[in-house]
């Protein structure tokens, strides 16, 4: 990997908004994070917290009729993406930053062969012939361990299983050796056994190619297994950020703690009656984003919330060694551990 030192991707104070009949939805409301070269960053949160919109904003794939990046900066290799022309963005997409999606069943074009769909990416960005593009497609299918890759080139997506389709998506996304791969819930729609295979494959390929991965998921288990650093999002804001070890050792935001208590665990002892403690849900609902949120977005659902939480938006503070958290009551939360 060449280029300037420093993070490959820097997102600063990103605001992405959608106009709806009910008003402006602030889907991403001032999010900042960096992605280092070759790193795996996890972005975690519930449905509707703005994590997918963040991903789509980076590639500028927000539908123009309804949504827009209202403010903020996205720098890739030091280059500002928000001011690039659409044509310049197209040169970047699928080439230097690529993306895979949640639904492998519907994300591939049903009427084009797998080979064509991979090869067109290579032909488009690397300026090679179709013959070379197909050869690259074959190499990529082989790399993602699809058996009998030569024959699969001429098959259509409906002839492949869900796991294989996601492998094809990965092959396609990595076919031009991108510097960043954004994976939006890549394993959510897959069987658990297949999930593990796909995650292992992504990590293995990352080690091989040095591609940085932004892994977007609602599944803390996936985060624990695959990522190095984690950003926790809530209601369009970043509420916590830490290395994966720190986050699981000592989650500091009440929301992150809530998420962790909602993970089923096998290592918790059953009591004398043989029952295990119930999983705890987080009470309440995600706030409606058409109203500007005053104070901390999580306050209405938070057991630690005070008047100040409801009045003033908590800034991100460094709780030590780069562990960032946006909570006024972090000391109380820490003591309550």
């Amino acid at each position: 990997m060449s280029g300037t030192p420093g993070p490959i991707l820097e997102v600063r104070d990103l605001h992405t908004q959608f106009s709806t009949l009910d008003g402006i939805v602030r889907a991403v409301d001032g999010v900042s994070f960096d992605v280092a070269r070759g790193e795996t960053l996890g972005i975690v949160g519930e449905s509707g917290c703005g994590k997918s919109v963040t991903a789509m904003s980076i590639l500028r794939l927000i539908p123009r009729e309804t949504g827009r990046i209202a403010s903020g900066s996205i720098r890739f290799e030091g280059e500002e993406l928000t001011t690039l022309t659409e044509e310049e963005m197209k040169r970047l997409r699928g080439h230097r930053i690529s993306m895979i999606f949640q639904e492998p069943m519907t994300s591939l074009n049903p009427v084009l062969t797998v080979g064509t769909q991979i090869a067109e990416n290579v032909v488009r960005h690397l300026g090679v012939s179709w013959k070379q593009g197909r050869e690259r497609a074959f190499e990529m299918l082989d790399l993602v361990r699809i058996a009998d890759a030569r024959r699969r080139l001429d098959e259509y997506p409906h002839q492949l299983s869900g796991g294989m389709r996601q492998r094809v998506m990965i092959a396609m996304a990595l076919s031009c050796d991108p510097q960043v791969l954004i994976a939006d819930e890549p394993t959510t729609a897959l069987d658990v056994t297949i999930q593990a295979q796909i995650l292992d494959l992504m990590i293995e390929l990352k080690e091989k190619t040095g591609t940085a991965i932004v892994l977007i998921t609602h599944d803390l288990g996936v985060v624990a297994e695959t990522t190095e650093r984690v950003v926790v999002m809530y209601a369009g804001r970043k509420v916590e950020q830490a290395s994966v070890e720190t986050l699981f050792d000592e989650p500091l935001h009440p929301y992150t703690r809530g998420l962790m208590r909602a993970i089923p665990r096998l290592d918790v002892e059953a009591d004398a009656a043989g029952t295990r403690p119930r999983l705890q849900e987080i009470p309440g609902l995600v706030p409606i984003l058409t109203q500007p949120i005053i104070g901390c977005a999580f306050a209405p659902r938070c057991g630690f919330a005070t008047d100040r939480c409801r009045r003033e938006r908590p800034p991100l503070i460094d709780a030590g060694a780069g562990h960032l958290v946006a909570c006024w009551e972090v000391d109380r939360v820490r003591r309550a551990a």
Binding site: K90, F101, E103, S107, P110, V111, L112, E120, R124, M169
Partner: protein, 313 residues
């Protein structure tokens, strides 16, 4: 694929047989007696009976049907009651203008309407889209004969750019042939175009919202490749279907268009034959039109399989 095509070809035979049976009996049971018309208004009962015998209309219906079907299998559509010419020859004489008119209309309509629909879907809810769809509604609502007279008034009478009516066979020169087809094709094609453009737009809009289009965009593909390959190929099945259904629209439109523009085609032949109760000619024409429709459907069914590999019957 070959086996599929052969199977579809064989499947058209029973359809044609049913059409033949239906046509034969429909006409027999329609009111009106051709023998009486041929014999003339003042004819005696005997004269009428004589004509009836000559035409074979006095025989039992089933016997008439047997004779007719045997001839049909040999490619003989019978002899016109009025002109005494073989029906096949009458049809062959009139085939060229109708074929030229429908094919040119089909070609021009599809070549214009599909791109228009694609652009409308791409620029959905923008000005271009609203203009196109406004014209589509207008085009769809306008009867063929009204449009035909408007076109004749401006292009032929006022500005004298094109012939008012008539048909120039292709052997008399290519340009006169094309000139004679422009106004009839436009008159006939506008409804058809409106239909195809609307379906193309609707089908494209649905496809453009699909996940695989998002994938194509995330690969940074050029807009034309996303629209014309990734989207249009998926949107094609309903479009091709409506193009096929529209052929029926064209065939009925041909009758009116040929009358307005005084083109000696199958449409005019049909009107004349029906008015005179020229049974053999009407039967022959319906069979030819039905055959054309079945053939179009066959082509469309086969095209589905090329457009989408998941489709096999």
């Amino acid at each position: 694929m070959t086996a599929y095509i052969v199977r579809r070809l064989f499947a058209t035979l029973p359809v044609m047989a049913v059409v033949a049976i239906f046509v034969f009996f429909l006409i027999r049971f329609a009111p009106g007696d051709p023998a009486a018309i041929i014999a003339g208004e003042d004819a005696t009962a005997e004269a009428i009976a004589q004509v009836r015998m000559k035409l074979g209309l006095d025989r039992p219906v089933l016997e008439q049907f047997a004779i007719w079907s045997l001839q049909l299998l040999q490619g003989d559509l019978g002899i016109s009651i009025f002109s005494n010419l073989p029906v096949t020859r009458l049809i062959a004489q009139r085939l060229e203008p109708t074929l030229a008119l429908t094919l040119s209309t089909l070609f021009v309509a599809v070549a214009l309407a599909v791109p228009i629909g694609v652009v409308a879907a791409w620029k959905a809810r923008k000005l271009v889209d609203r203009l196109v769809m406004g014209f589509a509604v207008l085009g769809f609502a306008m009867p063929v004969f009204v449009l035909a007279y408007i076109l004749i008034y401006f292009f032929a009478v006022q500005w004298r750019l094109l012939p008012v009516q008539g048909y120039a066979p292709i052997r008399e020169g290519f340009w006169p042939f094309v000139e004679s087809l422009i106004l009839p094709s436009v008159a006939l094609g506008v409804t058809y175009m409106a239909l195809i453009a609307r379906i193309t737009r609707a089908s494209m809009l649905e496809v453009l919202a699909q996940d695989y289009i998002r994938t194509a965009n995330s690969k940074g593909l050029a807009t034309d490749r996303v629209l014309l390959l990734h989207a249009l190929k998926n949107a094609a099945v309903p479009i091709v279907t409506v193009i096929g259904i529209g052929i029926a629209l064209l065939i009925s439109g041909v009758v009116i268009t040929e009358t307005v523009f005084n083109i000696p085609g199958l449409g005019r032949l049909t009107v004349d034959a029906v008015l005179k109760r020229d049974y053999p000619v009407v039967q022959g024409l319906i069979l030819v039109f039905a055959g054309a429709k079945v053939l179009v459907n066959l082509v469309i069914d086969i095209s589905y399989a090329f457009l989408d590999s998941r489709i096999r019957y």
